[in-house]
């Protein structure tokens, strides 16, 4: 390739690449938004109903790989614990903070999800 060809190929790949990636992901953004809105309109209470159900499954999936979790530094665990707190805690003044603490399914599910996602792979 001569210099001109290089410039041309560069610009085409840059442009096409960014445009396609953005178009695709913007498209997905709107789609996800759309179907989420529809679902929440149809099942307004499903969001709370279903999550506790999922808890044992998430916990179970999480149990068989303790060796990996063993490798997570304490610092990270602290960060995660804090994050869980933050998610519920920032509005803790308004909401029924004690009842949250009583919902073990919910918070342990979130915890498991967090740990799963923060597993180093």
């Amino acid at each position: 390739m001569n210099f001109d060809q290089k410039v041309q190929l560069s610009i085409i790949v840059l442009l096409t690449g960014l445009v396609i990636v953005f178009v695709m992901l913007i498209f997905l953004t709107y789609l996800i938004k759309g179907y989420s809105a529809i679902i929440r309109n149809i099942h307004p209470d499903e969001k709370t109903k279903n999550i506790p159900k999922a808890a044992p499954a998430a916990q179970k999936a999480f149990v068989p790989v303790p060796s990996v979790e063993a490798g997570i530094p304490e610092e990270t665990v602290a960060v995660i614990a804090a994050a869980v707190y933050a998610m519920y805690g920032t509005s803790a003044g308004k909401v029924q903070s004690i009842r949250r603490a009583v919902q073990p399914g919910r918070s342990s599910w979130k915890m498991a999800g967090l740990l799963e996602n923060t597993r180093p792979f």
């Binding site: 396609i20 990636v21 999936a61 519920y88 999800g113 996602n117």
Partner: protein
């Protein structure tokens, strides 16, 4: 002294076949490099699950290159064969060359040659994505779909690095494979490279996994340089909970859209989403567990050692590798910058509701990059917890780089 001479000959033969004679200095340099990588994997815990197998594969192939040897056929005169086997005939194919009959005797290849087929034929990376899908929670992304934009912006590094590679003299295909290092996603990098430029698999895989491990060192300075203290202190709104139905539909919709629009991304995205559907459906716990544990572990071992085994001294020790390592660093840096800058844009359009630090997580490098966003944010405001908000761009970055992979294969493949 006939026996003595024969014995000396025999020992000499073993010595001549030994690595001391056949290996050159490059192999020893590679052995030293693999030692450093083993050190980093064990002592510094740099992505040890892949770096340790990669380093050991590199070690073995430089000690014993035949471990990657392709199977071959050797020719032996039928008369010679029979003389060596007490007159017995064999079941090999025969050829006649110049009135002489030869057996075509197949020789088996090296162990890693066979295990490497899963890389060469593009089988391992989608299967690892199956496992990753089964262990990924896309909830934060569904709760805040705008995260997709950050996962798109952080792919900037891929395309800018492509340009750099082109101007350093790499071919288009090679430049695409080098660019994908910026995707910060191991299986995607290996998948693209095995299709576009298998000759660069060693340095690209090593660069990709090394930089993924170095994300906590590479990203913070860039993130701080591009944001103000005020931006870094932004506390984001709590994410809404996501219903089970939304979680189940997500992988199906993403698969349909991405596969239709960009077929070349289908194997990676499709398998990622199948794994996630296993997870979210809640009815196939057996296979979901196996996909994310045993299947993924087995393939991780095979992928790691054989990818490492592509890094023989004569291939790895070249100017190209140094260029790739520099370009890889640029790729990560530009990706991080792209994510952060787009985060600033979203901060501005949302009137300060988005903390731009979560943008850097869009490079993927799951979950390291999200932890970095959390940590940098907490340095400004110890009560600010960005982790869950950064998980959205983080997992979106996996989809984003798989889409970018599809584009590169489609244009350059």
């Amino acid at each position: 002294m006939d026996i003595w001479n024969e014995f000396i000959n025999s020992v000499e033969g073993i010595f001549k076949a030994s690595g001391f004679v056949s290996n050159d200095w490059r192999n020893y340099v590679m052995i030293a490099i693999s030692g450093i990588l083993i050190y980093l994997a064990i002592k510094k815990q740099f992505e040890p699950l892949l770096l340790l197998p990669i380093a050991f594969g590199m070690l073995l192939v430089n000690l014993y290159p035949a471990i990657m040897a392709a199977p071959q056929t050797t020719m032996q005169l039928v008369s010679d064969y029979q003389a060596a086997h007490g007159g017995a005939t064999a079941n090999y194919a025969m050829v006649t060359i110049g009135n002489q009959q030869y057996y075509q005797i197949p020789q088996v290849g090296g162990l890693f040659y066979y295990l490497y087929q899963g890389v060469k034929l593009g089988i391992y990376p989608p299967l690892i994505f199956l496992g990753i899908g089964a262990m990924t929670d896309f909830g934060p992304l569904i709760a805040n779909p705008k995260s997709f934009l950050l996962g798109a912006a952080a792919q900037l590094g891929i395309f800018t690095t492509f340009i750099g590679a082109i101007f350093l003299g790499f071919t288009g295909k090679q430049a695409g494979a080098i660019g994908i290092i910026g995707g910060a996603d191991g299986p995607t990098a290996i998948f693209v490279t095995s299709r576009l430029a298998p000759e660069l698999l060693g340095p690209i895989a090593v660069a990709a996994y090394s930089y993924m491990a170095l994300v906590p060192i590479i990203q913070p300075p860039i993130m701080k340089a591009l944001t103000t203290k005020k931006e870094r202190s932004i506390v984001m709104e709590q994410l809404r909970p996501v219903s089970k139905l939304e979680r189940i539909l997500f992988p199906i919709i993403v698969t349909v859209i991405v596969s239709l629009l960009l077929p070349d991304a289908c194997p990676l995205v499709g398998m990622l989403m199948l794994g996630n559907l296993f997870r979210e459906s809640g009815v196939v716990g057996r296979i979901s567990n196996t996909a994310q544990n045993e299947l993924m572990n087995i393939i991780t071992i095979f992928l790691g050692v054989t990818v490492g085994a592509t890094a023989t001294g004569s291939v790895f020790l070249s100017m190209q590798t140094i260029e790739i390592i520099i370009l890889g660093l640029l790729a990560f840096s530009f990706g991080t910058a792209g994510g952060v800058l787009f985060g600033k844009l979203m901060c501005w359009t949302s009137h300060g509701k988005v903390n731009p630090l979560i943008g850097s997580a869009g490079v993927s490098a799951v979950p390291m990059a999200a932890r970095v966003s959390q940590k940098v944010g907490q340095e400004e405001n110890p009560g600010n917890f960005l982790l869950m908000h950064a998980m959205g761009p983080n997992v979106s970055g996996v989809i984003g780089s798989a889409v970018a992979a599809g584009v590169l294969i489609s244009i350059l493949g």
